[in-house]
Amino acid sequence: MSVGGLQRVGTGLLTLTLLLAGCASDPGDQPVALAGGVPVGAVLALTGNANVYGQDQKVGLELALQQRNTSGGINGRPLTLALEDSGSDEPGANAAFTLQINRGVLALVGPTLSQQAFSADPIAQRRGVPVVAPSNTADGIPEIGFFISRVSASSAVIAPMAIAQALKMQPGLKRAAVFYAQDDAYSTAETTIFQASLKEKGLEPVTVQRTQLNDQDFQNQISAALREKPDLIVVSLQAVDGGNLIRQLRELGYRGLIVAGNGMNTPNIYPICQKYCDGLLIAQAYSPELDTPANAAFLKAFKAAKGGAIPPQLTAQAYTALQVIGEALVRLDKRQPLAGAPLAAARKQLMQEILAGTYATPLGEIRFTPEGEVIQSQFSVAQVRMDPGGRSGRFALLK
């Protein structure tokens, strides 16, 4: 092939790319498309190594959608939810966000991981699309901008509560050991709060052990920690790595108290730590045992859909995120009908409406700061109680 020929092919390819680039359009100046219902989008990690979180969140969204549409939708119009998979990486989240925004959705729920949020949320912010994050707990998420909010509280309030609870159960605690996964954004954010809270209570950690999200064998870190003879172990890990750590801690003979953070507030820990989950203290942003009408309704819907199981925190938070958007849409539409409104203006008003409201959710009553940070009234600490046989259990609320 000649040089000229190759150059010709190259030029052709580049021209084609340019043509394709020209085809995009921003629907922001058109009226909200209400033909099929009121459009809302969600972007979750349904594939990749965060797939289990996305799977739990999807259930929550489906239940919230069902709940909204069986109680009148958005003033008679159905709420429609377009769900897209982000994979577990940043480029996937960005692509899914852009796709949803170009589709003309009024608001977005997602993305699943904090790292994805730092990448994808600025896109929504620049294009003026409200985002309600169901699971991003890292510092700095609502600060991305006006359009970014979250219903997933950081552990700032819960972590100290859990430590206080441990001290209430065993006032003589002296030596705390801390574990966290250094390559996980949730884990690194939460452990900072746990460690500060321990210091405040005069329990300077005797050792801090770092793990990796994908680690499954923790004997090195456990032997190093147990050498310090801790009587309290504080864990900021996700269900799988955290569950394995707890199982191995117990198998290797640790008998003291264990406090775990939000990441383990899910029945997904049962198959990992099995009977060894028993007695674990968990700082909860959602308690399945919270006694409110909103939680009762959520539990009922969850049990109908998934058998007798207990909903994970991620499911409850995703449910809450869509519930917030749904209720804000109902109020907005009453005040200022969505029909005929330009999409960009409707998105902005919806964000103001989201931030202005108070919501009775499965998480308890919540509202937002002007920045979009959630203000949650109820947090709790639970103790895991496993059934004999170690296959299932419950998160018993501690008062």
């Binding site: 190594n49 050792t207 090195n220 032997s223 990992i272 998934k306 199981a309 170690g390």
Partner: protein, 309 residues
């Protein structure tokens, strides 16, 4: 820290790496190429074991609620799960490797086709049984204690079992490779496929044999590791694929005893990283790998460098 405890910890992790790498290296020894679908076959072995001991599928995925009408004891389920995994490995060979061999295509292509097979398997698992974790209950070990003391260190019983099985499988495999007709045929094909062909050895059959065995080993390993750390979803075995590369090279690519040795070495190297530097743990094993590659490219027990890619 006590030396003994460090050794125990290192052997404990190393046993898992070694078990994973046994089947990984078998395919490499014959084809000279890495099978990126190995991690997915390992994962399937764990799921097969779970189903065979009577486990039920959760509420997500197309097989939601599915349970076999019978339940086998763990030690009966494990070899059957290995057979199931062997069938899958043969299928992988059939679709991702054999067409390339027949066309004498660049072996490099098998990296990509096997990756494709792995992606399909992992996502198929998720589609069928969901992304959640499954437990092989600790009770299958019967009355054994969860851990026992050894020279002042503590050993998890299940990890001791893993190490024992890894060494046992290695011994059996070595005996078979040296002592049986098929085993020697396999080695001949691994040495030099063309000469083997001249000697009347059916290299296609040998490749199939290698895949079947590799799948069996992966399946058994998956079930055992699942017993130790539960089955953490469809990506369960994928994570070992990368660490497995380090293990393969350290032991000597294509060397069967080297796979187990490499596993133990990587495990020990990680165990000797001081706790304060545990953030750098993975860099230590890959740094070590890097050095070994530069100083002794054939690995610790490997054959001289092959001329083929």
């Amino acid at each position: 820290m006590d030396l003994i405890q460090i050794l125990v910890n290192g052997l404990s992790v190393g046993a898992v790496y070694g078990l994973f790498a046994l089947g990984y290296t078998l395919v490499f020894s014959v084809l000279g190429v890495i099978n990126f679908a190995h991690g997915a076959v390992f994962t399937l072995g764990a799921y097969f074991t779970y189903l065979l001991i009577g486990g039920a599928i959760g509420a997500n995925g197309l097989m939601a609620g599915f349970q076999l009408p019978f339940a086998l004891p763990f030690w009966g389920a494990l070899p059957l799960a290995g057979l199931g995994a062997a069938l899958v490995a043969l299928l992988v060979e059939r679709v991702a490797f054999r067409p390339l061999r027949r066309r004498r295509a660049d072996p490099l292509l098998a990296l990509i086709t096997s990756l494709g097979a792995g992606v399909i398997l992992v996502n198929l698992i998720q589609l069928l049984v969901g992304a959640e974790s499954y437990a092989i209950p600790t009770s299958v070990l019967g009355g054994l204690p969860a851990s026992f003391p050894l020279l002042g260190a503590r050993v998890r019983t299940v990890q001791a079992l893993l190490l024992g099985v890894a060494v046992l499988l290695l011994a059996l495999l070595s005996l078979w490779l040296e002592g049986s007709r098929n085993g020697r045929g396999l080695q001949a094909v691994a040495e030099d496929p063309e000469t083997a062909q001249l000697l009347g050895i059916d290299s296609t059959a040998m490749v199939r044999l290698a895949f079947g065995l590799s799948g069996f080993l992966a399946g058994v390993a998956g079930g055992l590791v699942g017993l130790s750390v539960s089955i953490a979803g469809p990506y369960f075995g994928i994570g070992y694929g990368l660490k497995g590369l380090a293990v393969l090279v350290l032991g000597g690519l294509g060397s069967v005893p080297g796979a187990v040795l490499g596993g133990l070495i990587v495990g020990l190297a990680e165990a000797f990283v001081p706790a304060d530097w545990s953030g750098y743990k993975d860099a230590v094993s890959y740094g070590f790998l890097f050095l070994v590659l530069l100083l002794r490219p054939r690995g610790l027990l490997g054959r001289p460098l092959p001329t083929k890619v």
